[in-house]
């Protein structure tokens, strides 16, 4: 791994970001914690819905590549909504609010939010 070009000399002068390693700046949004949990994420999701759907579709495509019958996704869509009700507040309500605002099935939004634990498999 330490052979060039995979490990390069320490870069300098990279800031402020520009050039081929910089794809773009990151936009700011406000999350109003005074709103009910189910409503907090609606403004953000309204703007990023299509990107979220596209990312979740990529995970589904990969799951279907492993289990062509589609059973794995079925399991997610049937079992994980039950998991949503066991999650602590306010996360359970916030996740349901994101599913409502994006139109993504609740089980798939739950999977996205517990992916860290799932991915250790």
């Amino acid at each position: 791994q330490f052979v060039p070009p995979f490990t390069e000399d320490c870069r300098t002068g990279m800031y402020p970001p520009s050039g081929p390693t910089f794809r773009g700046a990151v936009r700011w949004y406000t999350v109003d914690l005074d709103l009910p949990p189910s409503k907090r994420w609606a403004p953000l999701i309204a703007e990023r819905k299509s990107d979220l759907v596209s990312m979740i579709q990529a995970i589904k495509d990969m799951a279907n590549a492993f289990v062509p019958s589609g059973r794995l996704i079925e399991l997610v869509d049937i079992a994980l909504p039950l998991m949503a009700d066991t999650l602590p507040s306010p996360f359970s309500e916030e996740i349901k609010g994101i599913a409502d605002a994006s139109g993504v099935p609740l089980g798939e939004v739950v999977l996205f939010n517990i992916f860290y634990e799932v991915f250790t498999v």
Binding site: F2, T7, C10, F22, A58, T86, F91, V104, I114, Y116
Partner: protein
């Protein structure tokens, strides 16, 4: 992932991180990129969590994800988490949860709770070290006073180790990738050695947001899994993030 908390020669704490994710989740041969990493980049957002119209904390997130991986409680502390691999992993925690044993916390819900509720570096450190988890993790925490920077190595149930910044030992930064700091990293994924070489080359005198970004822009700390880079300055309450690309040739991880 690569996370680092560094103390400059004036005692200011800086916190930087590369969020790398999507390993083995589909490789796009044509574009030489990881499918999920590329799908996550358009979802990267900076969030300002407010209560009574006052900022409580700020974070860099993937839209749709309610937990926290990168955040700052302005003027108090900064927090990032890196993935830790262990056989006693999250799938055991999930199994316990399904069977009704629910005394542990989902990792990203703990980091969100710490950013929302903790009001000091010490309080955050205690919560991160002592709360039972469903999955192992590294928590990298920076404070607002000299010497306040640490890596908390967590198993699901225990705090295995806390490595602190210690100016007396000339340890002016703590850096975590995805391996226990007291062990050698996996030889095909050693991002720790080049990262430390760059930090040592920079020296404490010259460490800044700018030179931190330089280190995080150097391959293999920058790799095909890197979705974003975040830089945080606790004393200014400032968080800035940038979506990244790694032009070929570039390490896949």
């Amino acid at each position: 992932c690569t996370s680092v908390v560094a103390e400059d020669s004036k005692g200011n704490l800086l916190h930087g991180r590369n969020l790398d994710f999507g390993l083995f989740l589909g490789w796009d041969v044509k574009n030489k990129s990881w499918t999920i990493s590329e799908k996550l980049k358009p979802l990267v957002v900076n969030l300002d969590f407010k209560k009574n119209n006052q900022t409580v904390f700020k974070s860099t997130n993937f839209a749709g994800y309610v937990g926290m991986l990168t955040g700052i409680k302005p003027h108090m502390f900064t927090l990032t988490m890196n993935e830790r691999f262990s056989l006693d992993g999250g799938y055991i925690g999930i199994l316990e949860w399904i069977l009704g044993q629910r005394d542990g916390m989902w990792m990203s819900f703990l980091t969100r709770t710490v950013l929302e509720k903790a009001n000091s570096y010490e309080e955050a450190k205690k919560l991160l070290a002592e709360t039972k988890l469903l999955a192992p993790a590294y928590f990298i925490l920076g404070g607002n006073q000299t010497g306040q920077g640490c890596i908390i190595t967590r198993s699901r149930t225990l705090s295995i180790d806390v490595l602190e910044i210690d100016p007396k030992l000339d340890r002016w930064y703590v850096l975590e990738t995805n391996y226990d700091h007291w062990k050698e990293p996996f030889f095909l994924d050693d991002r720790r050695t080049p990262a430390m070489r760059c930090m040592n080359q920079t020296t404490q005198t010259n460490i800044s947001v700018s030179t931190l970004y330089d280190m995080l822009s150097t391959k293999p700390m920058l790799n095909k899994l890197t979705t974003y880079t975040t830089l945080m300055q606790v004393s200014e309450g400032k968080l800035e993030s940038y979506i990244r690309d790694c032009p070929n040739p570039c390490m896949p991880w």
